[in-house]
């Protein structure tokens, strides 16, 4: 590990150490400052959305812009809630997001396991088949996909809302990355003990990947929660629509009432943000961590 010039071998003298300590302290201060500023920049847009959701329309359009919350919070949120039926929509979003996340995790873990731990004729083909699904946006093939779901009789149902969304590559790609870092000896040891592949997956790999799964759950929950176009197309009753539709539903095409819209936007962004906050510990760790 000595690719670096060996400069620190001389014994240190006092003033140098003090200077180093000062430098370190200054460095930390700079880090604090930089972090605070970045967080300010990152959070400001959302703060502003919150502010708008508390204002009257007159306050929204007035110049110079008012950046303090105003007094119309309750009224705006009640209007948004009742006008767009947000209660039911948020519930649907929750069902969709959880189902999509869990479903994706299960099928992706299975296929990633197959790709990493088996040699089979179509292995490469399957990998590319799965990977290509990243490549063509839903919008382009939506009319055709609608037809498939309609033929299955899945329109306006939770199955129709969730199952087609489970075909995507991100999770498989990530699991493949995780599994590749699991030492091969583990599998060999399992084989010596006479454990079959499913047993190995169930009792060795699964416990190892809980943090990964938790992290993926966050990513996929957010993905499922934020779907807009697909749910809009295949739901035919108000009872089946999801929260993001509610936001758009509040936009009057002639002249939007931004304060009400922003109130709905706040309601809709809270749950995924909450999931991120609650699961943050595993989120960061589990994204790539593997037990070594």
């Amino acid at each position: 590990m000595s690719v670096f010039p060996r400069a620190a071998t001389r014994p240190m003298i006092q003033p140098r150490a003090a200077r180093a300590r000062l430098k370190q302290r200054l460095g930390r201060l700079a880090a604090h400052l930089l972090l605070l500023v970045s967080i300010g920049i990152i959070a400001f847009p959302v703060y502003y959305v919150f502010v708008l959701s508390t204002q009257s329309m007159e306050e929204v359009v007035v110049r110079p812009t008012i950046l303090r919350p105003s007094t119309h919070l309750v009224a705006n949120y009640i209007t948004a809630w009742s006008q767009a039926g947000m209660g039911r929509k948020l519930l649907n979003s929750l069902v969709v997001a959880i189902t999509v996340a869990v479903g994706k995790i299960v099928i992706s873990l299975l296929s990633a396991f197959a790709i990493v731990y088996f040699r089979f004729a179509l292995r490469k083909v399957v990998f590319w088949l799965i990977f290509i699904t990243l490549m063509l946006p839903v919008e382009v093939r939506i009319v055709a996909t609608y037809q498939v779901v309609s033929d299955l009789g899945w329109l306006n149902s939770y199955v129709g809302l969730t199952v087609p969304l489970m075909a995507s590559a991100t999770a498989t790609f990530l699991f493949r990355q995780f599994l590749q870092t699991v030492p091969g000896e583990l599998a060999e040891a399992a084989q010596l003990d006479g454990a079959g592949p499913m047993r190995f997956l169930w009792s060795i790999l699964l416990p190892l990947s809980w943090t990964n799964i938790a992290a993926l759950f966050v990513v996929l929950f957010v993905y499922g929660w934020n779907q807009y176009l697909w749910p809009l197309m295949i739901t035919h009753t108000e009872e089946m629509q999801v929260a993001v539709i509610g936001i758009k539903q509040l936009v009057n095409p002639e002249l939007p009432q931004w304060n009400i819209t922003m109130a709905a936007a706040m309601m809709t962004l809270l749950p995924p943000v909450l999931v991120i906050l609650v699961m943050q510990r595993w989120f960061v760790k589990g994204l790539i961590e593997s037990e070594k």
């Binding site: 930390r28 088996f118 040699r119 990243l134 946006p137 093939r141 055709a144 996909t145 957010v222 936007a265």
Partner: protein, 294 residues
């Protein structure tokens, strides 16, 4: 470290990939093929008129000045979103990975905007940056004297959608970089410090190579993100304008197919997009995986 698959079973691997392959084929490949078929057709939206036109849609695409422009726009946009987004995220992740007080709080504050839907992000930025009433443009104008009118100036509009997309993706990138950074053994960095490496040298010789798998992953996902998942932002802010200045290839395919109902041209554009994406990914794997250290 190359992993060797160890289990032997004829049927099981196929059973394992079956759910994902089945869903992909039924809900992705089948409809995608049905949509891409239109690449060689001219068709009415309701499907009552359908003519085979050979490669006419492609020919028209490749000779269209708007499409050439869209290609350049996409290049600038994708590069901007990917490079800028990853650099900023890496910088912030390095900052948030130091041994300083209040770190958990900082991390939380950096991550949460990831939960915001693209549609919402678009509306937020439209509001922030509107030339007439946006706070951002208001203060920027006060500070610089420039007007930042992206409703008229296409370059500013492109800059704006890049910034908005970077913002929407920042939490995601930071999360992955942080995860990668935390995986780097502290002893390695300490050893380098003892060896007298400066912070920059430590980053370059220790952190960077160990971060390469994450960087590759983020490169792939960010490129696909910038290509395919940003049109929610573009749609909410500029709708491809002004004068087509923010019309990326995917937004154009969306606009021509979904809004303007020109299924033929949209099909042809989708074929081009898929070919581009496959080439891009293959290249990234080829050059990326070789340099990645697991």
């Amino acid at each position: 470290m190359v992993h060797r698959p160890v289990f032997r079973n004829r049927l099981l691997p196929y059973l394992l990939v079956l759910p994902q392959v089945a869903i992909s084929v039924i809900f992705f490949f089948w409809p995608a093929a049905a949509s891409l078929r239109y690449a060689v057709m001219r068709a009415s939206p309701f499907g009552d008129r359908l003519f085979y036109v050979g490669l006419a849609n492609f020919e028209r695409l490749f000779t269209s000045a708007q499409y050439h422009r869209s290609l350049v726009t996409t290049l600038v946009f994708s590069l901007g979103v990917t490079v800028l987004g990853m650099l900023i995220a890496l910088g912030l992740a390095v900052l948030a990975n130091q041994k300083i007080r209040g770190l958990p709080a900082y991390r939380t504050a950096l991550l949460w905007p990831y939960g915001i839907a693209p549609v919402v992000a678009g509306i937020i930025w439209l509001f922030l940056a509107h030339p007439a009433y946006g706070v951002l443009t208001y203060y920027l104008r006060a500070a610089t004297g420039l007007s930042f009118n992206w409703l008229v100036d296409g370059r500013i509009a492109l800059g704006l959608v890049i910034v908005a997309s970077v913002w929407a993706r920042l939490g995601y990138n930071i999360a992955f970089f942080l995860a990668g950074l935390q995986q780097i053994p502290q002893t390695l960095l300490e050893a380098a410090t003892v060896d007298g490496a400066s912070a920059l040298q430590r980053f370059w010789h220790v952190t960077r190579p160990l971060l390469s798998p994450i960087t590759l992953f983020l490169l792939v996902t960010n490129t696909t993100f910038s290509l395919f998942e940003t049109f929610g932002v573009i749609d909410a802010i500029t709708r491809g304008g002004p004068g087509g200045a923010t019309e990326t290839l995917v937004y154009k395919a969306y606009k021509d197919g979904f809004i303007a109902l020109d299924v033929g041209s949209s099909g042809a554009q989708s074929v081009v997009l898929m070919v581009l994406a496959i080439i891009l990914t293959a290249l990234q794997f080829r050059f990326g995986e070789r340099r990645v250290t697991y």
